[in-house]
C-alpha cells in the first residue's frame, strides 16, 4: 500500500512538473522496498552485485528531493531513509570494535537479499500468471452431468448410551436442580412493584426505611436486602420522574416523596 499523499500548494510550474514526475513514480511504488528495487535497476548490474551504498545514496537523494518539493512522504519511507542513513555511516566509517550489533556489511547483505528475494517473487508471479489457465487456455467439461445425491442416514447408539439414558431417566427425580435458597432476598422487582403501589400516598417527605415491607425490618439479613432493593427501586422511580429523594448529610436518613 502506497499510503503516500502529496500536497501541491504553491509550486512554480517547473517545480510542479518535477513534482508530478515524482508523483507518477512514487504512486507506482508499493512501499520503500519496492522503491529501492526500482532504484537498484538504474545500477544496471546483477542484483547480487548491487552497491548498497550507492543505493542508499539514491534513496536518500530521492527523499531529499521529495522534501524539497514539500511532498509529504509516508512514515515508512522516512523510517527507511533514517535506517539507510545509518547504514551509510556504518559502511563508510571504519568499524568501531566497541560498537555492538551487526556490521554494515551484514546489514547491506541482508538488504540485498531482500531485494533479490522480492524480485524473485515478482518473476515467479509473472511466470505463474503466464501459465495456461483453466477457463482461458484449457477447459473443463461444459455440460456437466448432474450427480444425483442420495443421502442415507443411519442412527447409532451404543450400549453405554442406552444404559446412561436409562440411568438418567430413573434417577432424574431423586434430585432437584441446585438453587440458591433465597428466602432472605427481597428483589428489586418486588421492591419496585411495592413502591409503585405506595408512592401515591407519599405526598410528604418520608423516611426510606418506613417503606420497607412488613416482616423485613428486624432480621438483619432480611433488612439489608429489603433496604437495598427499596433504595434501588426508589432510584428507578426518580429516573422515571415520579419520585424525589433527599439526604441532608452523609449517613443521614434518606427521605422521599412523590413528584407531581
Amino acid at each position: 500500500m502506497a499510503d503516500t499523499t502529496f500536497e501541491e500548494d504553491t509550486l512554480s510550474v517547473t517545480e510542479r512538473m518535477a513534482a508530478e514526475a515524482l508523483i507518477v513514480d512514487v504512486d507506482g511504488f508499493e512501499g520503500p522496498l519496492d522503491l529501492l528495487l526500482t532504484l537498484s535497476r538504474t545500477q544496471k548490474v546483477d542484483l547480487r552485485k548491487i552497491s548498497v551504498l550507492q543505493l542508499a545514496h539514491q534513496y536518500l537523494a530521492f527523499v531529499e528531493q521529495a522534501k524539497a518539493l514539500r511532498l509529504e512522504l509516508a512514515a515508512d519511507y522516512l523510517v527507511m531513509a533514517a535506517w539507510l542513513a545509518f547504514l551509510k555511516s556504518r559502511l563508510l566509517l571504519p568499524p568501531d570494535p566497541a560498537e555492538e550489533g551487526p556490521s554494515g556489511e551484514e546489514l547491506a547483505a541482508h538488504l540485498a537479499f531482500q531485494l533479490e528475494r522480492l524480485q524473485a517473487m515478482r518473476d515467479a508471479a509473472a511466470r505463474l500468471m503466464a501459465r495456461d489457465q483453466l477457463g482461458r487456455d484449457f477447459f473443463a467439461r461444459g455440460q456437466t452431468h448432474e450427480v444425483k445425491r442420495t443421502r442415507r442416514i443411519t442412527y447409532t447408539a451404543t450400549l453405554l448410551d442406552l444404559m446412561q439414558a436409562y440411568a438418567r431417566t430413573r434417577t432424574r427425580d431423586e434430585f432437584r436442580p441446585f438453587t440458591m435458597d433465597r428466602d432472605a432476598v427481597f428483589t428489586m422487582e418486588q421492591a419496585l412493584e411495592r413502591m409503585r403501589g405506595l408512592i401515591g400516598y407519599a405526598g410528604e417527605w418520608g423516611d426510606l426505611m418506613s417503606f420497607l415491607p412488613e416482616g423485613w425490618e428486624t432480621d438483619p439479613a432480611r433488612r439489608r436486602s429489603a433496604t437495598a432493593a427499596t433504595f434501588a427501586a426508589s432510584l428507578e422511580l426518580v429516573k422515571e420522574g415520579r419520585l424525589e429523594l433527599r439526604q441532608s448529610e452523609t449517613f443521614a436518613p434518606i427521605q422521599l416523596r412523590k413528584k407531581d
Binding site: T150, Y166, A167, T169, T171
Partner: protein
C-alpha cells in the same frame, strides 16, 4: 484429419450445448471438415464410457447410457440418536412390554410420535401384545435387531441400576434421606416379570 478430430473432440467436450457441423466449422480454422472429423471421432468413442451422439442436427458428447448408474452418489450419514429416542428406547428395553403411558410416566414428559416412529423404523422396537387393562393399550418391546445392534443375547442381560451405579455410570449419588433408590424395590421386581414375557408372542 487427426488434428481436426482433436479439435472437434475438445469443442464438444467444453461446449455447454450440442454443436452443429456449421458451428463446429465456424470455430475451427478455415477449410476444416467437421463432418469427416466427427465420423472419425464417433468411431473412436464407439463402445467407450463416453459417446458422441447426434441431437437433432447437432452433436454432443454424453456418458454411455449403460453407465448412468454411476451418476449418483450415495452418502451414508451416521447420526447419534436423540436424547428422547435413546431414553425411550432404554425404558422399553428395561420395562418391556411397556405402554406409551408408562413410558411417559417414567420419563416425566410425553413421548412424541416421531420418536416412536423412528425407533420402529430402525426396527429396534415393535408392537407387543395389548395390555389387559382398560383401553387395552398397545405395548412396545425390543426386537432381535435391537439385541443384535447392542450385542446383547437377551434383554435380561441389561445391567440393573445397582450395577450401573457400581460401574460409575450414575454420576450422581442421591442425597441421603431422599427417596428410596429406584429400581431396587418393586420397580425392578416388576421389570423382571415384564422381561419374562419377552419374545413370547
Amino acid at each position: 484429419m487427426a488434428e481436426q478430430e482433436r479439435m472437434v473432440e475438445a469443442i464438444l467436450f467444453a461446449a455447454s450445448e450440442p454443436a452443429s457441423i456449421k458451428e463446429l466449422e465456424s470455430r475451427m480454422p478455415h477449410g476444416c471438415d467437421a463432418g469427416e472429423a466427427l465420423v472419425h471421432l464417433r468411431r473412436r468413442y464407439d463402445g467407450r464410457g463416453v459417446q458422441v451422439v447426434k441431437v437433432g442436427d447437432a452433436y454432443a458428447m454424453r456418458t454411455a447410457p449403460d453407465l448412468g448408474f454411476l451418476m449418483q452418489k450415495e452418502t451414508v450419514e451416521t447420526r447419534k440418536l436423540s436424547r428422547a429416542a435413546i431414553e425411550t428406547l432404554a425404558i422399553i428395553a428395561y420395562h418391556q412390554p411397556v405402554t406409551r403411558a408408562e413410558i411417559e410416566e417414567i420419563r416425566g414428559v410425553s413421548v412424541s410420535r416421531g420418536t416412536v416412529d423412528q425407533l420402529l423404523e430402525l426396527e429396534w422396537i415393535r408392537f407387543g401384545r395389548r395390555k389387559m387393562t382398560p383401553g387395552r393399550p398397545v405395548t412396545f418391546v425390543v426386537t432381535p435387531t435391537f439385541l443384535d445392534h447392542f450385542g446383547l443375547e437377551n434383554a435380561r442381560d441389561l445391567p440393573g441400576l445397582k450395577e450401573l451405579r457400581a460401574a460409575g455410570l450414575l454420576e450422581n449419588r442421591p442425597p441421603p434421606g431422599a427417596l428410596p433408590l429406584m429400581g431396587e424395590g418393586e420397580e425392578e421386581e416388576e421389570a423382571t416379570t415384564g422381561q419374562s414375557e419377552l419374545f413370547e408372542d
